[in-house]
């Protein structure tokens, strides 16, 4: 399988173009023809062509307790291979190379593993931090950045070799304290934006001169827990655990600074316990609105992105964790924190009403839409299975076994900013 990348079709084609462009003397043809025949026959004796395939329908499923990922494809809904040896994958996350061939898997234990989806093998691995939460890849695909809890900060790596390019500590205050980093996302121009949980800050680090990163700082608010960049790359929104509201930064006009949106959405009421922190990404956006999980309230908050005013709130089953728009934005699917993580609800974005309440399995940890959204894959950790649901009928189409599955990541993320 590994020979798939080495098919010498380019030299053969070049030889042909060179030969055909101008008619060579007979003696030269005597040399060229046997050479071409040799090259072409070499082509046909290379490994079986079954290995040649695209990557646009590939993905990985994290098997969190076993340090393993399953490589899957969404066209035939099948498991292609498993790759193990990835360390502690509780809270693992994944970004993809721009060609969709390589998955960069960030493990909880600080491991960063580069997996070749075509050969189902590990092609690079570094243990880069003590306690990691995820990562991002640069606009040009050359820099992979990990966000770390311990030691708090971000680290940039060469996406080809995983060599360390730069270490940017999330230092704050006067005494060399370091903050946990959350909500990391890529921005245009090989910049990365992230939030500091303890320090209550948003920072942008510019790696356009990779060895000399430059960092800007903005206020976030109390205890940012995760954040998102809108699909156009214009706005960064950080969710706050420690206060009722979210921080908003207009990245087209960063000089204006950050501001609060949805302030006081808790209406002074006692917050409900939050047994799992919500996750924010650009999937929050649908039809000019952002659908955001409330903290400590069993609600999805709806904000108009032209005015940043609240335009609705949707009561849901429990504390929302993932609030994900279907790629066409017509529906938003919501899953929930422990102990209500067996439920999934679907919101119609025209009526802002819940159209389906599903119980797909026990401990639904994650959802991932196929690139155009006709299906959604759900992981049921406690049932050791992944389920595939049709997004028109909301019916289950198929399922397969996976050990304690958590995150599901499709290569279509490779082409999306903030993923």
């Amino acid at each position: 399988m590994s020979s798939a990348s080495k098919i010498p079709s380019v030299p053969a084609a070049t030889a042909c173009r060179a030969a055909c462009a101008q008619l060579a003397p007979l003696a030269l043809w005597g040399l060229l023809l046997p050479a071409m025949v040799l090259l072409l026959s070499a082509c046909s004796t290379i490994a079986p062509q079954a290995a040649v395939r695209g990557t646009g329908d590939l993905g990985v499923v994290i098997e969190r307790a076993d340090g393993r990922v399953k490589i899957v494809e969404t066209s035939g809904r099948s498991v292609l291979a498993s790759v193990q040896g990835l360390g502690d994958l509780s809270h693992a996350s994944v970004v993809f190379s721009r060609d969709g061939r390589y998955a960069y898997v960030f493990g909880r234990d600080g491991g960063l593993t580069k997996v070749d989806l075509l050969t189902a093998s590990i092609v690079g691995r570094v243990v880069q931090g003590g306690n990691s939460i995820g990562g991002a890849i640069s606009q040009d695909g050359r820099i992979v950045v990990a966000q770390n809890y311990e030691p708090g900060g971000i680290k940039a790596f060469n996406a080809d070799t995983l060599e360390l390019i730069a270490d940017v500590p999330a230092s704050y205050g006067g005494e060399g304290k370091r903050s946990k980093v959350v909500g990391l996302a890529d921005l245009p121009g090989n910049r990365f934006i992230y939030s500091l949980f303890e320090a209550g800050e948003i920072r942008i680090t510019d790696f356009s001169d990779p060895g000399k990163p430059v960092t800007q700082r903005f206020a976030a608010g109390k205890q940012p827990y995760d954040a998102l960049v809108t699909p156009d790359g214009r706005y960064y929104i950080a969710g706050l655990f420690g206060e009722d509201g979210l921080a908003l930064l207009d990245l087209w006009q960063p000089e204006k600074g950050s501001r609060k949106i949805l302030s006081g959405y808790g209406r002074g009421e006692q917050p409900l316990p939050v047994f799992k922190m919500p996750h924010l990404r650009g999937w929050a956006v649908a039809g000019g609105r952002a659908y955001l999980p409330a903290i400590g309230r069993h609600e999805v908050l709806v904000v108009d992105m032209s005015t940043w005013q609240e335009v609705g709130r949707i009561p849901v089953k429990s504390q929302p964790v993932f609030v994900m728009a279907r790629p066409d934005g017509r529906e938003v699917w919501v899953n929930f924190a422990f102990p209500d993580n067996g439920w999934v609800q679907v919101v119609d974005t025209l009526s802002q009403k819940i159209t389906s309440t599903l119980q797909p399995g026990r401990a639904i940890l994650h959802m991932e839409f196929t690139p155009r959204g006709e299906e959604v894959w759900l992981s049921a950790r406690d049932d050791n299975r992944v389920m595939v649901y049709d997004t028109l009928s909301h019916e289950k189409r198929t399922q397969f076994e996976a050990a304690s599955p958590s995150g599901i990541f499709f290569t279509s993320r490779a082409a999306r900013m903030g993923f």
Binding site: D88, H91, R108, P273, F338, R381, D383
Partner: protein, 121 residues
């Protein structure tokens, strides 16, 4: 009517055994519940504290990390939460006796996850 002495003895013995079983049940979760609790701590507490309990958004809960911390305050933290931090109160999800069992296990090194209970279907 008078019961034969052997019946009385048997009844007293069975009664005593039932009382003992009931009393210990109130203090110690049964094997199935212990498995559920171990799964919950590893997997769901693990979403903040890590599957290996080595820490995450929340602090590490390994025996080394907790060494010297009084059990009472750990029980109080789990049961009632810690205001001002993301640590929620688990009252309503686990009983106080179950929290005490969890804290004992944490302090001596938490057992591995035996998996979720059998599938319902």
């Amino acid at each position: 009517m008078k019961l034969p002495p052997v019946f009385v003895h048997a009844a007293v013995l069975i009664g005593a055994a039932l009382v003992a079983a009931y009393a210990s049940a109130a203090e110690l979760p049964d094997a199935l519940r212990q498995r559920e609790l171990a799964h919950m701590v590893r997997q769901d507490c693990g979403s903040c504290h890590g599957l290996t309990l080595a820490g995450g958004l929340g602090p590490a809960l390994t025996a080394e990390a907790l060494a010297g911390k009084p059990a009472d305050s750990l029980v109080a933290t789990i049961y009632a939460g810690r205001p001002g931090t993301p640590m929620p109160p688990f009252r309503g999800i686990v009983s106080e006796a179950e929290v005490e069992w969890i804290v004992q296990q944490l302090l001596r090194g938490f057992p591995p996850d035996g998996g979720a209970a059998a599938r319902a279907d």
